[in-house]
Amino acid sequence: MAREHKASRRLVQALLVALAAAFALPFVWLLSTSLKPIEQTISLPLSFIPRAYYAELGGRRMEVTLDFEVTQPGAVVRYLAGEEAGELGFEGSKQLENGSAPVTILHYVAAGSWHVTQRLDRRPGEGGPAPIWDVIPRENVESRIRFRWENYPRALAELGGDSPGDRHRVGFWTFLGNSLTVAVLGVLGTVFSNAVIAYGFARLKWRGRDAFFALTLATMMVPFPVLMVPLYGVFKAMGLIGTLLPLWLPTWFGSAFNIFLMRQFFRTIPEELSEAARIDGCSEWRIFWRIIIPLSTPVLVVAALFHFIFAWNDFLAPLLYLTRKDTYTLALALESYQSQNGGVQWHYLMAASAVTILPVILLFLFAQKTFIRGIATTGSKG
């Protein structure tokens, strides 16, 4: 029995490590891509390790890109006549023997050498001298691991882009500000409104309360698409389309899930505390504010965390209500950057995605216990 336990324990441990690797791999891939130069994102075989290559070209040591392997022997030449007169090129041995064009041979090249080009890291459209290139033996190219952190500021600069039609250029900081505005005002609204409302359901007895609460729970079943069209109409009538208000204003008027969450918690606080305060002549508002709220920090924190993550991650509502780029949240800006630039600049796209993910991961790591406990006790979707 004991031996069987030991073997199965080891099996479980191994299985967990394998599964954890599978779950972590996408994150590693995200980071690895975000730290590569663009040409390494689309080179095979796949590698997780961002590299930099160095070589001596024209007597200077510089960073180069590996372009392709030269499969036949030949020479790097300078053309003496024709359209390309004065320019450098590569000619295979056969062409040289046939004496195709008048050239000066600069140096001979063995098969298996690599065509390399100076890495200039210019932005598209930026001018300057053409990059130097050469064909050199592979062993003259030094390969080093290098994380290209400079991708991050560049990706964030790209995120805004030029948005014609907008009055001013918008960028990453605008989007970050919008996301934070929506999340923070939403968190405040969620915590305040739901605590007040839940108090009414949890700590007061009044006619119709239970029926009203049942109705409240029932609204959780309504799918958002059912509300979408009329809600859009409501916000349009209020002149709020294109502003951030539709994204946080409703949180100040309660939500069924949070009312339920807080009510459950408030009910666990001993009734005697309230009774004693009532006998002392305290108003309900004072009892709520001075007794219930201070005792309820755990549930308030859980609601705040859940809402922050929800607001930060939300895509459909920003897509519905935001029309001008200067009101975009980070999530919407990321999507819009991708759809405008296509899936080409993978390194920038991954860097911008990593930046979008970072705040929620940090928040989670700081409040991990509260989080896990909150989900475990509420069964929430987070």
Partner: protein
């Protein structure tokens, strides 16, 4: 009503007044208005004109409507059972005395809080047919058989499975809930079963499952409801993986035209808001029916075992 009762009612209504306004403006009115619009010809630009059952009638003959419904049921039918199995499996592994449990729990959970736009970008890249991580792993394995990994999101028969695989990455949330449920199973039950000579499978079938069945059933239903509303991932990834086109087309070949995407484009691109409202109400009914059936099934399952 006595004076005291009236006073209590006033206090109750006072504390819940924000919700009364919120419920009316952001839920009750939209639910009623949506029903009304579903019987109307309505674009947001002009006021609605009553047209009876016309929208519903047209929907039944709309090929794209059926296509989107089939796509959505296919996705939900795969992602919900698989997601439940993965989440439950992970929770059961973590419920044993293993080293580094909190680290594993952290790792499995983390993907579920990643913003959907960011995870869509990440998986778009992972599923890239040429340079993506997925085919980077698959191609060497498939090569001896003369096969290559599919183009995933750009291949109509693999686009939905790709979205299902992506959804499995985000099951950490359910795992945490199941783990909490498992930890509530009294260990005496397992000990008793072991003394009686129950095998591991029998212990799972007759001790674990009956105790956590209600939690699993509840979560599976919630997952089903949200799978029926799948939107963001499909909207972002189908456009991106298939070049130029409209995000609401459900490319390739409409294989990712999901219900909510068709509804969204009908309402906000074609401005056929009455038609979209009829679609929304059908979704409402389907969701309610599925919830009811799933609740019945899970209750039935429990009666069997107890």
């Amino acid at each position: 009503m006595t004076r005291n009762e009236r006073k209590q009612l006033r206090a109750g209504l006072g504390f819940t007044s924000l919700w009364i306004v919120g419920l009316a403006a952001f839920t009750a009115y939209p639910v009623v208005a949506s029903l009304f619009y579903s019987f109307c010809d309505y674009s947001i630009l002009k006021s609605p004109v009553w047209c009876g059952l016309e929208n519903y009638h047209q929907l039944l003959q709309d090929g794209l409507f059926w296509k989107s419904l089939r796509n959505t049921l296919f996705y939900a039918g795969l992602s919900v059972p698989l997601g439940t199995a993965v989440a439950l499996g992970l929770a059961m592994l973590l419920n044993r005395p293993v080293k580094g449990r909190s680290v594993f729990r952290l790792l499995f959970f983390m993907p579920s809080i990643v913003p959907v736009v960011a995870s869509a970008m990440l998986w778009l890249w992972i599923f890239n047919g040429e340079y993506g991580l997925m085919n980077g792993f698959l191609n060497p394995i498939l090569a001896p058989f003369g096969l290559r990994g599919p183009a995933w999101l750009a291949d109509p028969s693999w686009s939905k499975p790709a979205l299902v695989i992506m959804s499995l990455w985000g099951t950490g949330n359910a795992m945490v809930i199941y783990l909490a449920g498992l930890q509530n199973v009294p260990s005496e039950l397992y000990e008793a079963a072991e003394i009686d000579g129950a095998t591991a499978w029998q212990r799972f079938r007759h001790v674990t499952l009956p105790t956590i069945a209600p939690v699993v059933a509840f979560n599976a239903i919630m997952a089903l409801i949200s799978a029926m509303q799948l939107f963001a991932q499909a909207y972002i990834m189908s456009e991106a993986a298939n070049g130029n086109g409209n995000a609401s087309d459900g490319n390739p070949e409409r294989s990712t035209l999901f219900y909510s995407i068709y509804l969204f484009s009908t309402a906000f691109q074609d401005l056929r808001m009455g038609y979209a409202s009829a679609m929304a109400y059908i979704l409402f009914l389907i969701t309610a029916a599925l919830t009811w059936v799933a609740a019945r099934l899970s209750r039935g399952g429990r009666d069997d075992t107890l």
